[in-house]
């Protein structure tokens, strides 16, 4: 599988700063490079690359980051074959891989936007598809909003 240098760099950077699996999942899904993986590679190719990376003899951070990117790209392939492969994939070799799969299957994707919407704060979030226009994880930091106190 051909993954260019810039894409690898973006995968590494997102992985490096991820504190939670949901953050990793969301930020990778927003990357155009992941969307290109999803659209440009067959599900079997993504699985092969995932396995090759997680089974690498001396696994590097790049291997781990690319493996997560392939996994998240799998969640953007909506075909029954891809979903079936995703369900059956052994994900024990990466710490957050099974959590990410659970996030995908429990937060049902739809087509319209790339945002996760909370329908009710007491219920799980709903993932609402992809946003091809979304930029990389490292955009200019947002300006602070007016303070508001909201209980978590």
């Amino acid at each position: 599988m051909n993954i260019d240098h810039q894409a690898m760099r973006e995968f590494r950077e997102v992985y490096l700063v991820s504190n939670t699996p949901l953050y990793l999942f969301k930020r990778l899904r927003q990357l155009q490079a992941v969307q290109q993986l999803a659209h440009g590679a067959e599900a079997e190719e993504l699985i092969e690359e995932y396995i090759r990376r997680v089974k690498a003899k001396e696994r590097t951070m790049e291997d781990v980051a690319i493996a997560y990117a392939c996994l998240v790209a799998m969640t953007q392939k909506e075909s029954p074959e891809a979903i079936s492969l995703l369900r059956s994939l052994d994900l024990t070799d990466l710490n957050w891989a099974s959590v990410i799969r659970d996030i995908y299957f429990t937060k049902k994707p739809a087509e319209s936007t790339g945002r996760i919407k909370i329908l009710n704060p007491s219920l799980p979030a709903v993932y609402a598809g992809t946003d091809a226009a979304a930029s990389s994880a490292f955009t200019e930091p947002p300006k602070p909003k007016i303070e508001e106190e909201v209980n978590i």
């Binding site: 950077e13 700063v17 504190n19 939670t20 696994r59 590097t60 947002p142 978590i152």
Partner: protein
Amino acid sequence: MSIIDIPGQAYRQSITTQTREKWDIPNSQSFEVTYRDRAELEDHKRRYTQNFFRTDAIPIYNCHGLTFAARRTTIWETTAVKKILSDDRYEQVPLRDVQPGDIILYVSADDGDIEHSGVVIESPSHPLLIPKVWSKWGFGAEVIHSANICPYDFSQARYYRIRS
């Protein structure tokens, strides 16, 4: 210190760490980032030249591990962070009252995920009222930074202090 038994292989273990109410906090120590990957961090540093990266990449603990578990482990479940806030008697403080030693939580505006946390080390100053923070960026470095100069969603930042 055990670092990597088999280079690059996922290695997971958890330690016993509890809230004030003796609730076991789910956690894991990860070594997925090998120490020979430290060079990767240099690229990252160049993107945030205004910040001070005070360590190399350290995969064992994350931001919540720094803020709530003395840098010993990784805490990555938002439900666990909420339980810690409750059991340890944290209360939210308004931005105008934020002091060094308070903690900052970066709550995702999309889904409520507590995607980052840190410790306030300088009170918010005018004109923008943005505090300075000490935090750990994922598997990467500990960083001293303005609260808004980081790869996390600052728009819904909240501040907390232990009250009793």
